[in-house]
């Protein structure tokens, strides 16, 4: 780390310029709860660190009049939890972000860092995908929007082009009767990596599910949007047959690793179990239970 540089630009334009000028070994710093661990372990040796937390757009949370939210990529879990409205509209996204690490980690860890670190087990990602959130990405060639599920490319890899920075997440306006939930299975009760994670977002009208999105984490090289599971729920009363079909769709897409923390068979089975529980929680939240 002898020639390491630290920069803390105050505008996005400066950050983009610094990021592309600094070349291959430049790294963005949000909360540092992955980056600093990786630097200490020697797996990442940045030449330049670009701290994005002095850029307003990266640390703001905004609710638009149409009910959509824009959350800066570097907003920490603790700050998101203190927002007066976000958790009421997106309880599943908030619970997923707040599951990341301890109180101290929550003081720093961001959803942007969780997404860009591209662990298949990142807790916030399935919830963001289920929510239908999009990311705004900015780079030397301007800005573009993409769905959250388009960002991860594989363990530790993203589809961001060289020099691109995630600026923030946009959450679409919520129709009445909507809610979401995130559940993860971990061998311990706290402070552990998900063996399976499942995010569900749904809308109910007169007891009928009119829209549903389901995403799974830790069961494939990237977080998966399970469209077939969403389809199985949509149009139903969330009766056992529909929920069983959605659970089967979740099991069908699993391509998990096999390790001491969870065998393929176990992870696959749990994906279906978590789906069922997360659907119930999201539906109960709609009904105000």
């Amino acid at each position: 780390m002898s020639d390491l540089h630290y920069l803390s630009p105050r505008t996005l334009d400066e950050a983009i310029k610094a990021f592309s000028d600094a070349g291959e070994t430049a790294r963005i710093l949000a909360g540092g709860t992955d980056l600093l661990v990786q630097m200490r372990a020697g797996t990442v040796r940045p030449g330049t660190i670009i701290d994005i937390k002095k850029i307003g757009e990266m640390t703001d949370i905004e609710e638009a009049p149409d009910g959509s939210f824009v959350v800066g990529a570097a907003v920490s879990g603790a700050v998101l939890a203190e927002h007066p409205r976000f958790g009421a509209v997106w309880p599943g996204v908030l619970e997923a972000v707040n599951l990341i690490g301890s109180t101290q980690i929550q003081g720093r860890a961001s959803a942007g860092g969780n997404l860009c670190n591209a662990s298949p087990a990142g807790d916030s990602v399935p919830a963001l995908v289920a929510a239908g959130a999009t990311v705004t990405v900015a780079g030397p060639n301007g800005r573009r929007q993409l769905p959250v599920e388009a960002v991860p490319a594989g363990p530790g890899r993203t589809n961001l082009a060289r020099g691109e920075i995630v600026v923030g997440f946009r959450f679409p306006p919520r129709p009445p009767g909507s809610s979401d939930a995130y559940l993860r299975m971990i061998p311990r009760t706290e402070m552990d990596i998900a063996v399976v994670g499942c995010g569900v977002s749904l809308t109910l009208r007169d007891g009928i599910c009119t829209a549903a999105r389901v995403a799974l984490g830790a069961v494939a090289p990237t977080v998966l949007l399970v469209e077939a599971a969403g389809k199985a729920l949509t149009g139903s009363k969330l009766d056992d047959a529909a929920v069983d079909a959605a659970a089967a769709a979740c099991r069908a897409v699993c391509r998990p690793i096999d390790d001491k923390r969870g065998t393929i068979e176990y992870r696959t089975k749990i994906a279906g179990v978590l789906l069922k529980r997360a659907v119930r929680i999201a539906a109960d939240r709609v009904r105000g239970a």
Binding site: D3, Y6, L36
Partner: protein
């Protein structure tokens, strides 16, 4: 290597120091700043022995770059006792023997104080959950949790 000059506030006092760009806040505290109360248990965010506050928020100082302190407010365990008077949590920890080797204690105290500032009447479960990022190899946690709950009860009584 070019050193960075950092102007910050530590425990209410303006401080200037030099650091290298990759240095952590924990290393700066324990090295040039001579504040060795914050401990290094793991260096990877798992143990909480290095807990400080950054603009009032609990963080692991081993996962903060020293350069990030520029223009911000740092709080360390050295700022907990005021004018030679221990904080009620510190007194209670001594009284109830909520420590053995003491390595985890600065971090536990910093975290416990932040909890009581936000929630003066936590349940046992809330205390345990809040302190889940503070590992202790000695006490088995029970005495720590009791001491926090007891301090909270006394502070509530005193406030009435």
């Amino acid at each position: 290597m070019a050193k960075l000059q950092v102007s910050t506030t530590i425990n209410g006092e303006p401080v200037e120091f030099l650091c290298s760009p990759g240095e952590t806040m924990l290393d700066a505290l324990r090295g040039p700043l001579g504040l060795t109360g914050s401990k290094e248990g793991c260096g990877s965010g798992d143990c909480g022995a290095c807990t400080i506050t950054l603009d009032g928020r609990l963080v692991c100082s081993c996962l903060v770059l020293a350069a990030e302190a520029e223009g911000r407010q740092i709080g360390t365990i050295e700022g907990m006792a005021k004018g030679g008077h221990l904080h009620p949590l510190q007194t209670k920890f001594l009284e109830m023997a909520a420590l053995q080797c003491g390595i985890c204690t600065p971090g536990v105290l910093m975290a416990a104080r932040a909890l009581l500032e936000r929630n003066p009447d936590p349940t046992e479960e809330e205390v345990r959950f809040w302190l889940a990022g503070n590992l202790c190899r000695c006490t088995g946690y029970d005495k720590i949790v009791r001491a926090v709950l007891e301090t909270a009860a006394e502070l509530r009584e005193a406030a009435q």
